[in-house]
Structure formats: structure tokens, C-alpha cells
């Protein structure tokens, strides 16, 4: 759907809100790039960002360009086997 909208001329942001994010694969950016994407929440947790910038800054920094110009960003990914 994101690719189809982009092809009709719209600017499209695709947000992957799954803690096991796989949307990049279906968008066509490949699984290596899908894994490489730093999630926005992790960047904030790790102190790379002092605070969340405005949405366009966050998208510029942590998003990835996919085919047809779709911009993909990952909201949160679970990486650590922490209890809770």
C-alpha cells in the first residue's frame, strides 16, 4: 500500500511499530538494511539524541529510503532478553 501510494505521487512515510519489525522486507529495502535501521526509541534510550526532535528531524536521521521514495522508520525494536 505504501509503495502504491508513493507511485501515485504522494510523499509516504512508512512507520513500523512492531517490536519485531519486518516492514522493510515487504517495502523492498532488503533484510540487511531492515536490520541496520536504528529504531527511534533505541536512539533516544542510548543518548544519541538529547530529546526527540521534530518529526522531520527524526525521520531524516533514523529513516531509510526505500523504492519509489517511501521513507521507512522503525519505532521500537526489542533486542535484549531483559525481564519485564
Amino acid at each position: 500500500m505504501a509503495r502504491t501510494l508513493a507511485r501515485s505521487g504522494k510523499s509516504v512515510v512508512a512507520l513500523d511499530c512492531d517490536s519485531n519489525p519486518n516492514l522493510g522486507i515487504s517495502l523492498g529495502i532488503g533484510d540487511d538494511e531492515t536490520e541496520r535501521l536504528v529504531s527511534m526509541r533505541q536512539a533516544l534510550d542510548e543518548g544519541e539524541e538529547e530529546h526527540a526532535g521534530d518529526w522531520s528531524t527524526v525521520l531524516d536521521r533514523y529513516g531509510s529510503d526505500g523504492p519509489d521514495g517511501v521513507r521507512l522508520a522503525v519505532v521500537s525494536r526489542i533486542d535484549n532478553p531483559e525481564p519485564g
Binding site: N20, D79, P81
Partner: protein
Amino acid sequence: MKVAFVGKGGAGKSAIAGTFARILARRGTPVLAVDSDPMPGLAFSLGLDSDEAPMPDDTVVERKEGESGPRFRLRPGLDATEAVERFAVTGPDGVRFLQFGKVRGSDTNLFRSSLAFLQIVRELPDDRWNVVGDLPGGTKQAFTGWGNFAQTVLIVVEPTAHSLLSGRRLARMAQMDDGPQRVVAVVSKARVPGDAELVARRTGLEVVVSVPWDEALAEAERRRQAPIDAAPDCPAVKAVESLADLLSEEMVR
């Protein structure tokens, strides 16, 4: 033995776990099958009509002030074995079934029952019982305290890009977890001879069995029937039998 099935949603965990539990039960050892998914599916793969198998609220008590341990636990005098014998639903072949994650009522009740769940699956003696866990899809629960009751964690992986990536993430999380668990892969819906090799290479895990794509198993799921009842001789059920053989032999050794 105590095993947990994890993997991406839709990979086939419930069908494989339910069939695996039934096979173990037919071999004579008591089996507790547990489902901790908020959208439970294991009951139907076991051949039960309903997925309602909660524990009564009064089986769980809050920790007294000054005591250590989790905030909620089974009430004094009620141990894991008795809790299972009294409250678990009995299914075909005598499989006992408890369901823990289904959202009903308040969050507090869910939290209470989840701690009782963890206590039961950890404390149930594995020299008398087999425990087969079907965990929710994705990477959230597998290594965050929910899967560590199991001696063997089976990551169910389909030969698709999404499922392989999820399998790789789960394998990585398993390595970071410092438990003594063995973590292996089960290929699900394999279609071509290279699928098992693909899963091994992309996840870095040992593949213990390759369950083929099987229209008879898919049809059983469409009809909400247990695969082992609807298609006992289909290739997928046979593959799960070989998995039970393999893990049983390893336990004896």
C-alpha cells in the same frame, strides 16, 4: 522434558506444538501444554473445543510483606503438580492444558495469573511431566522470562525473509541470554530441499527437523481440527513425530 516453541506469528508454532504434545502424551508420560499468547491458538491444535482454561483467581495470593520473591504466587499448600491436576483442562490423549495470556478482565488479574503460570511451568517436576509451551509470535516474550522454563527452545522458522529475520533475531537474543538452554531451529512449511539449509545458514542454528508444507495440515487448521486427528498420517505430523523421537532419545542419553 520441557520445551518452548517460539517464532514469528504465523510460522506454525501452535500446530507443531499441539501435535508434539499429543504425540508425547500417547507415549505415556503426562503432558502439560501451555499457551501464553493473548490470542491463543494451541487449544484447537490439541483438539480441544475451547481455549478457556484459566486458573481460578483464589489460587493466587499476594506476597506478604517481608517475604521475598515474585509479588504473586500460588497460595500456600498448592504446589505446581496439584495446581495442574486440579485446574488444567484434560484434552484428547490425556494432555493437560492451561492457558495464561488471554486478555480477560483487568490487567491485575492477568499479571497475577501470569506469575502463577511462570511458577507452575518452572516448578513442575520434569522427571514426571513433559511441559510443552506455545509462546506468542514475535520477539517480545521468548527470552524475557517466559521461555526460560524450557530446557530446549525450538525456534520455528518458515523459509521466508520475514520469518528468517525473526529467527535470526531470536537466535541472537538466545545467545545473549545466559540460561543453560539449548536453542535449535524447526523448519516449518518447507517446500524445496534447500529450505533446511537456508534456515540453518541464515539463523546460525542447528535445524533439528524440517516440517514440510502440507495441505492436509492447512486444511485441519481451516476446520479448527487438531492435525493429529484430521490427518494423522500426513507428512507434517510424521515430521513432528520424528522431532519427538529425537528429543526423547536425547533426554534418555
